[in-house]
Amino acid sequence: MRGNVKAAVEAALFVATRPLTLEELARGLRFPEDEVYAALEGIAAELEAGGKPYRLVRKGGGYILELREEYADLVRPFAPGGDIPEPVLRTLALIAYRGPIKQAEVVRIRGQRAYAHVKDLVKRGFVRARKEGATKILEVTEEFLEYFGLESPKDFRAPRD
C-alpha cells in the first residue's frame, strides 16, 4: 500500500542521523526502490507545500530531513549543544583549534574556570583528556565532529560577518 511506504520511509528519515540511500531504504524497509523513490518525492512535496521549517534534501548520495537555513539562528538554543554556555564554547573553540593542547595551557589562557569547562566538555563527549605525566592533553573527539557532521574542526569556523 502506498500510504504504508510513505509512512515507513518518513519514519526512517525521522530517526536517521545521516543521509539514507534509496537502496538502503528499500532494503531496510522491504519495499521496491521505485516505490521508495515515489514516497520520497511525495514527502518532499508535502513538506514544501505545508510550509514546514524542515525539508527533504539530497546529500552525499542519500536523503535526509534538514532544518531550513532561515530557522538556524532562531532555534540554535534548542539544538544539541545549543545549551553550551558561551564561555564553555570558547574553551571548546580553543581546544578544537589548538588541540592537542595541554590542559595547563588551556587554563593559562582561559583561567581557572577552564577546569570546570573541560569537565563539562568531557562529560558531553566533545573533548578527550589523556594523562601525559603530570598534565593532561586535551583534544576534540571524533564523536564531536561526527555529531555535528563535520570533517575537521576547521569546518565550524563561524562565518565572519
Partner: protein, 244 residues
C-alpha cells in the same frame, strides 16, 4: 592596578587592609598566590619595623587560600571520591556554582581562537525497544555468570616453612647453632647455616636471622651487592647463651 595606599598608611594598616590592598586587582576567584607572596615580601621589605602580628596573620590567610585552591584543583582533577565512586555532591555543587559565577565575570578581550559556532543539526534519538531491553538483560546476566565463576586461586606462593616447630623455637635453635659455630671467629657466612641449600631452607634461615637481628642477638652485614651475608654474634649476645 593596585590600590594606592601610601607606605606610611599601609604600615599602620591591619592585616586585612594589607591583604585587600595587595589583592585589589586580582580575580577573587583566582588569587595568584605567587604574586601575592611577592607583593607581601615587597611590602615587608618596605616596613621600617617588623610587626610580627601582620606577617603571622598573612601566613595564615595565605595558607588558607592555598588550601582552598589545592582542594579545588584536587576536586577538579577527579580525586576525593567517596566510597561510591561518586564525587561528593556538595563539593561538586559548590565548584559548579563557583565556575558558573566565574563565567559571569567579564572576559578579557584576548584573541584565543576563531569564534566557534556549532551548526544546528538534528540528532534524533529513537526509543529503545523492549527487544533491546531484553538483549541488554541477556548481556548483563551473561556478565554476572562470568563473574560468578570461581577464580582459580593462585597456588600458595607463601614462604614454605617447616611445619610443626614454632618460629621462635627455630630461631632459638639457630642461635644455639651460631654460638657453637662462633668458636673464636667473629663472622660466620650465611651458607654455613645451611644443610640442604634449597630455597625453602634459605628463606626459613633468613627469616630466623632477621628475627635474631631484630632482637639484637646478631648483626647482619653484606659487604658486596648480592654478596654473601655475614652473621656476627656480638659479645653481649654471647653472654645470653644459657638464657632463653
Amino acid at each position: 592596578m593596585r590600590v594606592d595606599i601610601s607606605p606610611e598608611r599601609l604600615a599602620r594598616a591591619d592585616w586585612e587592609t594589607v591583604l585587600r590592598a595587595l589583592t585589589a586587582d586580582m580575580d577573587p576567584w583566582d588569587i595568584d598566590l605567587v604574586e601575592l607572596v611577592r607583593r607581601f615580601r615587597a611590602y615587608l621589605a618596605g616596613l621600617r619595623a617588623l610587626e610580627l602580628e601582620v606577617p603571622g596573620r598573612m601566613v595564615l590567610v595565605g595558607s588558607v587560600l592555598l588550601r582552598l585552591k589545592s582542594e579545588v584543583l584536587r576536586e577538579m582533577n577527579g580525586h576525593h571520591r567517596d566510597g561510591n565512586g561518586d564525587v561528593d555532591g556538595d563539593v561538586e555543587g559548590a565548584l559548579g556554582a563557583a565556575a558558573e559565577e566565574a563565567d559571569y565575570l567579564p572576559e578579557e578581550g584576548v584573541y584565543i581562537a576563531p569564534e566557534l559556532r556549532l551548526p544546528v543539526v538534528r540528532r534524533p534519538r529513537r526509543k529503545v525497544t523492549l527487544a533491546e531491553l531484553e538483549e541488554a538483560l541477556r548481556a548483563a546476566l551473561a556478565q554476572e555468570k562470568r563473574k560468578r565463576k570461581p577464580r582459580r586461586r593462585p597456588r600458595d606462593g607463601g614462604v614454605p616453612l617447616p611445619k610443626g616447630e614454632p618460629f621462635s623455637a627455630r630461631a632459638r635453635r639457630l642461635f644455639r647453632k651460631l654460638l657453637s659455630l662462633v668458636n673464636g671467629k667473629r663472622d660466620i657466612p650465611f651458607e654455613k647455616l645451611l644443610s640442604r641449600r634449597d630455597p625453602a631452607e634459605v628463606v626459613a634461615r633468613f627469616m630466623e636471622l632477621l628475627h635474631l637481628d631484630a632482637e639484637g642477638k646478631v648483626v647482619l652485614t653484606q659487604r658486596d651487592f648480592l654478596g654473601e651475608l655475614i652473621v656476627r654474634v656480638p659479645d653481649h649476645a654471647r653472654k645470653c647463651k644459657g638464657r632463653r
